[in-house]
Symmetry: C2
Subunit: 210 residues, 2 copies
């Protein structure tokens, strides 16, 4: 194969990389940021949250006699590359999740590394394919507050179609007030990680993942 042939194939390979990259983005990955070392629990947890676009929000079901009820929801923890670690949601009480939270605010939010695309051939349940569950209280964000403005810009920048969702469904901004963190990112059980370590990780660790 001559130089011209090689160059031509390089162009085709660029297209391959573009296509594969695009598919990665469609699966919920926002920025191609390297996964932190699993020993860095806070950095890994914040990476998992900032790289994902959706997860499962769990409440105590009022319709189903107190059963634990999980629902697929989109979320954002801040403007792109400016995550805070706190997940914000845009929910309507036409759905059970927001309705449940109004009666019992106990909730957890679970996200997986698997849809980011960095687990490769490793099984989703394998502990090296990271997963995190944030447990706490699902709270309505105060209306017309600065925080509501922040939740809105955080969510609408990552989930552009939200701004056009039907007004008569009365979508409202919610947040998870985190009380406990369950992080699995390697063998040996959950990583000890306090809410304070998660919300305020060392800056040098954070700058590389956001």
């Amino acid at each position: 194969m001559g130089t011209k042939g090689l160059l031509r194939n390089l162009h085709v390979f660029s297209l391959v990389l573009f296509l594969v990259g695009f598919q990665g983005s469609a699966q919920g990955r926002f920025f191609s940021v390297k996964k932190p070392d699993p020993k860095e629990a806070a950095a890994t947890a914040r990476w998992l949250v900032s790289q994902n676009s959706w997860g499962v929000l769990n409440t105590i079901s009022s319709d189903l006699g107190g059963a634990p009820f999980g629902n697929v929801v989109s979320f954002s923890d801040g403007l792109p590359k400016k995550g805070t670690g706190i997940p914000y949601f845009y929910l309507t009480t036409l759905d059970p999740t927001a309705k449940d939270a109004m009666k019992d605010e106990r909730a957890s939010f679970t996200i997986s590394e698997y849809p980011i695309g960095t687990c490769g051939k490793i099984d989703p349940e394998n502990p090296t394919c990271a997963k995190i569950t944030l447990t706490g209280k699902l709270k309505l964000v105060d209306k017309n507050s600065k925080e509501e403005e922040f939740a809105k810009s955080s969510l609408f920048s990552k989930h552009v179609e939200m701004k056009d969702w039907p007004k008569d469904h009365n979508f409202q901004f919610f947040k998870l007030e985190i009380q406990n963190i369950f992080l699995i990112d390697w063998f040996g059980g959950p990583k000890p990680l306090s809410v304070d370590e998660y919300l305020h990780p060392k800056k040098n660790k954070l700058s590389s993942i956001l």
Copy 2:
């Protein structure tokens, strides 16, 4: 570009398609089976379950004072192309989920269409990107029963690394005994779908999705 050049590029494009297809499989999709019409609630629900490899299993947390606790787990509802609709799991009581179920068997299992890759650019929370929550009882499958043999072959055929998971972790087979189904696959709220309709859908509908 001459015929030779075209042929050469066709080879490279085949590689592209292989790579993109492979990534689709790594995201949890097993068979390229067309999504059923959203009007066909039972077929859509069974398609969602048979096409996925993982979801979030929710229990009442004994460690966290009764909070709803979601955990990322792998599952299988049967041998490839022979799904039953009943999700089986391979869990250890070293993890909170199995431990919780031993104390309170109320549970739900939530899966999303998003990681299958068929939602395109639609937001994961958009109702046309389908999601299902099966609520019921998380039960240990009887030891040395025919059902345990079925659970084992169902799980190990879809999750090949499971057979090599550490023996001393005492993994056991669990199933969700389904009591309620929450399916969103279009606008207009959850689709009415009974457990019987889900477990025994019309055969002509099922043959096209399994």
